[in-house]
Symmetry: C2
Amino acid sequence: MITRFPRWSNESCVIPGEVRGFRKGDTIYHQGDPARYWYEVISGIVRTCRFFDDGHRQLTGFFYSEDVFGVEGPAHREAAEAVTDVILSRQAQDALDLGDKGAEIARDKVLAKALESARQSIFLFGHRTAANRLAAFLIGIAERPGASAGVQLPMTRSDIADHLNLTLHTVSRTISEFVRSDLIALDGPQKVRILSLDGLRAVAGDAESDYGLGDGTTWETGGLCKSA
Amino acid sequence: MITRFPRWSNESCVIPGEVRGFRKGDTIYHQGDPARYWYEVISGIVRTCRFFDDGHRQLTGFFYSEDVFGVEGPAHREAAEAVTDVILSRQAQDALDLGDKGAEIARDKVLAKALESARQSIFLFGHRTAANRLAAFLIGIAERPGASAGVQLPMTRSDIADHLNLTLHTVSRTISEFVRSDLIALDGPQKVRILSLDGLRAVAGDAESDYGLGDGTTWETGGLCKSA
DNA sequence: CGTCTCCTTGAAAGCGTTCAATTACAGTGG
DNA sequence: CCACTGTAATTGAACGCTTTCAAGGAGACG
């Protein structure tokens, strides 16, 4: 018995844009497709993937409810795929360039969200070892709004590996190490309980909270510029 | 004898915003400074850096003429430093949120540029080995407008290493390997001549040109959605 | 000519990958 | 209900790339 995902056309829906669902594993768009639309996740999880000549895969991001993806042009440089069953809303990329007053979502906001997602991915790669990166990844998921102590990992080990530039073996081994160190516990492969967030942070090696230290006056006073 | 960088206030300048110069090595803003401004590079090269608990450094991007950086808020999560002597233009982050008709640069454009830079960095990390990443890095620099066969590497090996998540030793060794393989030649440590762009691309392992393959109709026809 | 910074190179150690085998689990059909 | 099948996860062992430790060299500057 398969539940059906109807194709709606923004009928009686608070979220602007056309809405439809995809089943787990479906491709939403392919690498190279013309980027006529961008997408917002209503429910479920999406991954964006880039495929290399040698066949290996880079997952450039995971996108949860309220995240946006596919904001680029003129062509999608990555594919987008459904990690779980998902419901998405799409909007034309250029709809807001026209200055349409009826548009309810400012393109600014969309771009800012996409930029924030990109920065998050870059941040992950700043961590040197497998344990560093994986800890940072788990913290990132745990800090998502709506996540309790029980964290879901709906993506496979292989997905995580391709996101962190590791092999699935290293991911699996490192998770096992975390369990042995009592940093986390597993209730099945997909369900993680975080036992020590501080411990994970220590492994990740980033403080995350040392903002607001400077006085922001560098432009006026900083550097070697002593003139005038 | 030190050349002086005066502090201008957008006087007789085609580029809107306040302009000033920084000397090589200067800090433009610190990690944690309130992000009241974003910046555009007029000339020279800037790097953005994040510092970790263990003291190691991640260079999240290099920014050349016409690139923008520091587009974020409410605080800068990275520091910005001058790789070479630079001249910058800065603008208030919120100047364009007010809907000022006189603003000549749309915030859209700025965000889109920042997003493009971020994607470029993410792309680099998709490459698995040191040779892969370094080749992709060199190609990226060589493809910048204005770059001829003689490519300048004004940043140090250490900068490159912290950008690619490698050590400076591995960077140096890999460059030496490229020279031995006749992929590149060095006219001094900072000046690279690319002898075989195709060879470099092969090492990098990405085609870069396989866009436009799909038909973009996934939304309508794709996946397992067979309903209605 | 000494000092400093940056780059290069060698050798050994460590971590992640690769190759390989085993286990667990969901779905399917007998 | 149970065997069969395919996918996902875990774990072991050996290999290889990157790091680490260490030394030496090249160029700028005073």
